[in-house]
């Protein structure tokens, strides 16, 4: 795998406090990340392309979000990201000024990769890179799988990787596409072994 400088990695930071946004931006930039900051979960969802159902070319390598925000919380954002097939492999870090174990566990169970207690420090930035690299390798793996399956597809009789016929696969796929409001062009059979296809 090629070694890329951190300056090629893009982090999306979400926090309703201007002061905290300024801080996290400085911390990230000092650690050589490209940064986009937004002040709410809805703006984050808009940026990530989850609100209009269109396919966006968003290159975000990590999302770091405050937990407690008016309107939707960081936890709500985490859930939306994990429910999205296109975004679920992006690592998510939750920040909070309160040390509440049940809150921390809830976030980790929902798929958060890390939990930072505020105030976030420069030393915390070092913890981000491993999650970004893991996310990138998952993304790469998924892309490779998709490419492989596209090559294996035949025009009339399509089979899934475990040998079952296409009609059963596409049912599962339609459900996902509707949930996300994906345009027809994006519907692509997904043959992961976790789907029950029979």
């Amino acid at each position: 795998m090629a070694i890329v400088a951190d300056s090629q990695y893009h982090v999306l930071a979400v926090d309703d406090s201007l002061m905290d946004r300024k801080l996290i931006e400085r911390l990230l930039k000092t650690s050589s990340y490209q940064v986009t900051t937004v002040d709410s979960v809805s703006k984050a969802l808009e940026f990530l392309g989850l609100l209009d159902g269109q396919q966006h070319e968003i290159d975000v390598n990590l999302i770091i979000t405050d937990y407690c925000m008016p309107g939707m919380t960081g936890y709500d954002l985490l859930k939306k990201i994990k429910e999205s097939s296109s975004l679920k492999d992006i690592p998510v870090v939750i920040m909070s000024s309160e040390n509440v174990p049940s809150r921390i566990n809830r976030c980790l169970e929902e798929g958060a990769d890390e939990f930072f207690l505020k105030p976030v420090r420069l030393s915390d930035m070092k913890k981000l890179r491993p999650h970004i690299l893991k996310g990138k390798s998952k993304e790469q793996q998924q892309q490779e799988e998709q490419q492989q399956q596209q090559q294996q597809q035949q025009p009339l009789l399509n089979t899934c990787s475990n040998g079952t016929l296409l009609n059963t696969c596409s049912n599962g796929n339609k459900r996902k596409a509707t949930d996300e409001g994906l345009s027809p062009e994006r519907r692509r059979p997904r043959f992961s072994t976790s789907h029950s296809l029979l």
Partner: protein
């Protein structure tokens, strides 16, 4: 830039800088600010030369608003301790972001009084929070003013660099 104000004289400060001795800035040594403030100073550089002061300005903007929210929350009858606690927690969060130690500690006490639904305790704590907040504002204003003066002196006297 770390200055031992008000006890340190300017020549001593320059001498210390020449010899590269790092010491705590005055507000840290007097307990008003903690290590987090030092972290902010570490983030300041040529790219962001006024970072600390900018963050401090934002803090006082936020905290003044929160203090006023708390004031309003305390006037509610019957007392909404849950809403009050949320405001206090926000103020605690902001305070810890700049390392405002005394304000933060007082907010922790205030929060406990909210949890106990102790109105008297809340009122007492609030007075203390306001007092510490005002003192901190004074100290930091003096600190940044001094840094500006030192900066000017340094530019005027290159032999000290």
């Amino acid at each position: 830039m770390l200055v031992n104000f008000p006890n340190e004289t300017l020549p001593a400060f320059f001498s210390r800088r020449r010899n590269n001795h790092q010491t705590l800035p005055f507000p840290l040594s007097e307990g008003y600010l903690d290590e987090q403030f030092h972290q902010l100073e570490e983030l300041q550089d040529d790219v962001s030369p006024n970072f600390v002061e900018e963050v401090v300005v934002l803090f006082f903007r936020d905290s003044s608003r929160l203090i006023s929210n708390i004031e309003q929350a305390l006037e509610k009858h019957p007392q909404d301790f849950h809403g009050l606690r949320a405001c206090v927690q926000q103020l605690k969060g902001s305070s810890s972001s700049i390392g405002a130690l005394k304000v933060k500690n007082e907010c922790d006490l205030f929060r406990e009084y909210c949890d106990e639904e102790n109105k008297e305790g809340c009122l007492r704590s609030f007075q203390k929070v306001k007092k510490e907040h005002a003192i901190l504002r004074q100290k930091l204003e003096a600190y940044f003013q001094l840094l500006r003066q030192v900066g000017q002196m340094e530019r005027a006297t290159p032999s000290y660099n």
